[in-house]
Amino acid sequence: MAEPAERTDQEPAADAPVAEMDLVRRAQRGDLKAYDELVQRYQERIYATVYHMTSNHEDANDLAQDSFIKAYQALKSFKGGSSFYTWLYRIAVNKTINFLKQRKNRNHMSLNDLDFNTENNPDLVALISENTPRRDAGLKELQEKLNAALLTWSEPHRLVVVLQDVQGQSHEEIAEIMDCNIGTVRSRLFYARQQLQSLLTDYLKPA
């Protein structure tokens, strides 16, 4: 089992696509060991995307697992027109958006804990101490405020911010995942950031 910390890059390595297609072909023939490797390769990113969209660990766990199972069921229909990673992302994103639409306004946050590095991250410390008038606000409070603000948006706007600003995906990748053009991605991103900035005024206004 690969440890989460081992892979910090957002894009696959240069030789990864070849190995990936090999794994996909083996999985298409019913090789579950190959599929297990594919799951391990993308589990963190798929989970993280779903988690940031739902702000709920239990929902993210179920949806991420369901996405991998659905991808396996549909694997025979995967022809390699896009990368397996993008195709998998689309399944997870569509599943999550459908889930959120069904859930409508019944948002219940179940947030993951902040990792150990948060308090030691100089950028975040500087940000909180310099750029927010609420210096007394604890990290937990900021986390809750940020997640609550994210949940007020429509799913496409939330998704575009999660993919770009939280996960660092490029506009091109986001456009491919969301099946729209880059202009749409940019306009959604601008609108979403504007909205978020107004929602977090108390925390972002320079002191």
Partner: protein, 158 residues
């Protein structure tokens, strides 16, 4: 766009904060194992692959409990309807009997061979209900059985 992105610099830094939200330690150690177990258990190609309509129906039930309730009520009503009609067999054979008598009468009158036969029902009527297809029940007990003989036993030496 760059200018806009600079405007949102602080916000984007702030959003990176979310990247520090991590699941419980060891969570990913079992994740792929759970997925593969679920696939092996049949979720990867069971009825969901063979009957996607059933999977969709179950998903609708999951997300719309009211729909599931309506579906269950409809099934229950159908069951009750079936029981009510199954418990009333007497109402149906009567018109059937009359119809068969009328039909045999009209048929007998129309054929010359029927002149030699009485235009009454022969007594053998086909019906699925055993209670109406037999001769009157009283005749079974009042008439003597032609195959039964009275016997008497005498024991020698008494």
């Amino acid at each position: 766009m760059n200018e806009n992105e600079n405007d949102f610099g602080t916000l984007r830094q702030f959003l990176k904060f979310k990247g520090h939200e991590t699941p419980p330690p060891g969570y990913f150690n079992n994740f792929s194992g759970d997925v593969i177990s679920r696939i092996r258990a049949g979720e990867g190609g069971g009825f969901s692959a063979e009957a996607p309509w059933l999977l969709k129906l179950l998903q609708v039930f999951e997300f719309k409990p009211a729909f599931a309730g309506a579906f269950a009520s409809a099934l229950f009503l159908l069951l009750v309807f079936g029981f009510v009609y199954a418990d009333r067999p007497e109402s149906a054979p009567q018109p059937l009997l009359q119809a068969s008598v009328q039909q045999s009468n009209s048929f007998a009158a129309a054929t010359p061979a029927a002149l030699a036969q009485p235009a009454e029902p022969t007594g053998i009527i086909a019906a699925t209900n055993p209670a109406t297809s037999l001769q009157p029940v009283a005749s079974l007990f009042n008439s003597q059985n032609p195959f039964a003989q009275q016997v008497s036993f005498s024991v020698p030496g008494n």
